[in-house]
Structures are given as C-alpha cells and as structure tokens.
Amino acid sequence: MSDTAARIDARLPIRSDMDLVWVRQHVRQAAALLGFSLVEQTKLVTAASELARNTLVHGGGGELRVARVTEGTAQGLRLTFSDQGPGIADLEQALRDGFTSGDGLGMGLGGARRLVHEFSIDSTPGVGTVVTVTSWAARTPRPRQEMS
C-alpha cells in the first residue's frame, strides 16, 4: 500500500504546456492504480487538464498536489491546484458555463466541476487561487450532484 501511495502522492509544477502533459499522465496513472474505471479515469484526467490549464493561463503557473484519500473502503484521488495569480473576483460568474477570460470554450471551471465528485475553490484577488477536486473509485457509478 505504501508503495502505491509513493507512486500516487506527488507535487507537480505547472509552468508550461509540457507540464500539462505530465499532469495528465500522472493523474491517469494514479487513477488507474486506484482502480478507477476507464470512463472515470478519462473524466478525472480531463478535469485535471482543464484545471491545470487554468492554473497556467490565468494563475500564471503554480503547482498540483496529488494525494490518495480513503473513506472506509472507498479509495479516491484528491487533486489540489494552486497558484499565486491575480485570483478570481467573481467566483459565481467564473463557474457559470460560457464564462471565459482566456482560451478555450469557456468550459474550464464549470465543466471540470461536472467531471468530478467533489469540487471546492478558494480564491482571493491579488493572492491566488486554490482549486481542490476529489473523485472516488467506485464499484458502482455514483450519482453525481445534479447541477442547476
């Protein structure tokens, strides 16, 4: 188990396009190790890609912390993206579909939130942004929180 944890827990820099590739590969590998289904792996890796790009483009770079989490017999993966960028003034607006201040189709935050089981964001203008997401390797697909 500690061996598994060693291959999962990590701190990855997010400074360039290539770093996004490493982020995707690491999250994919970690999710596979924890027994995520292919679809769940793909969702989590896609969310990680969206959030890492946000960190890079809007936060001016930062880092990703990857950690294995457990709850009873359930195993999950927690990803924490942090930057010291300008922060987000209006979180509600940023989470709404279609909002974008950079490249992409405006699906970044709101879209990523739909791809994971738990999502939280903490942003202070002028200080930076921390986005934490968690997904669980479920034996059965768990109902996602339906978005309004």
Partner: protein, 138 residues
Amino acid sequence: MNDGFLSAGTGAVPVLKLGDVLLVTLPGDLHDGLAQQLQQDIGEAITRHRVGGVVIDISGVEIVDSFLGRVLAEIAAGARLLAARTVVAGMRPAVALTLVELGLTLPGLRTALSAEAAIELLGGPGVVRPAGRRREDG
C-alpha cells in the same frame, strides 16, 4: 501531388494525403503548442494540395479537453472557408461521454466511427457511391 506523407510545416503530427483527402492521425497526448501548430499545418496543406476533405483520426486520443475541442472545431471551421470538409473519426466512448459531461457537444463537427468510414463519407479514393449511409434531411 502524389499521395503520401507531406512535410508541411514543422509539426510533429504527420499529415497524409490520400487522393482528395488529408488524413491526420493524432497521437495519444499532444501538448497545446503542437495542437496549434497542427491547425496551421492543416490550413497550409489544404491550400497547397487543394484537397476537398480532411479526416482527423482521434482513435488514439485518450482525452479531449476544451482546448483540444476548440482546436478541432477551429480546424473544421477554417477548412470550410477553404472549401474542404472535415470529419473527426474514431472518438473513444470514454472521451465522448466526458466531452458531453463537460458540456462540449461540438455541434458543427462531422464525425465518423473510423478513418475508413470518414473517407467513405467524404467520397474518398476508390469509392464510387457517395457514402455508405445516407442522412435524412430535416
């Protein structure tokens, strides 16, 4: 104007010419810079070789996020301006489910099950009939 690999641009993604169609096979994970380079390369290849169609084979692609989704949509829109039709082929089930969950349904994009089906759809080489399947209009 012979068929075969084109050395268009500096991109690391190979662009193959098959008759009237450009065949582009995306690797499993390509970084943002490479995706943008590819967009340029395809535009240039369409003009240079005057092809009528572009097939982007994404059967090897493990994830499509909003960035790559946007690149695909822009390649198609750009090709349309150059009078070429674009078909995205071979999207994996997990990728399709994720894109839909992400809210990205890419409505303007033509799709096919495989590169072969896409070439057939575009009326590619050696195909006499326009397409194996017909869509109902409306």
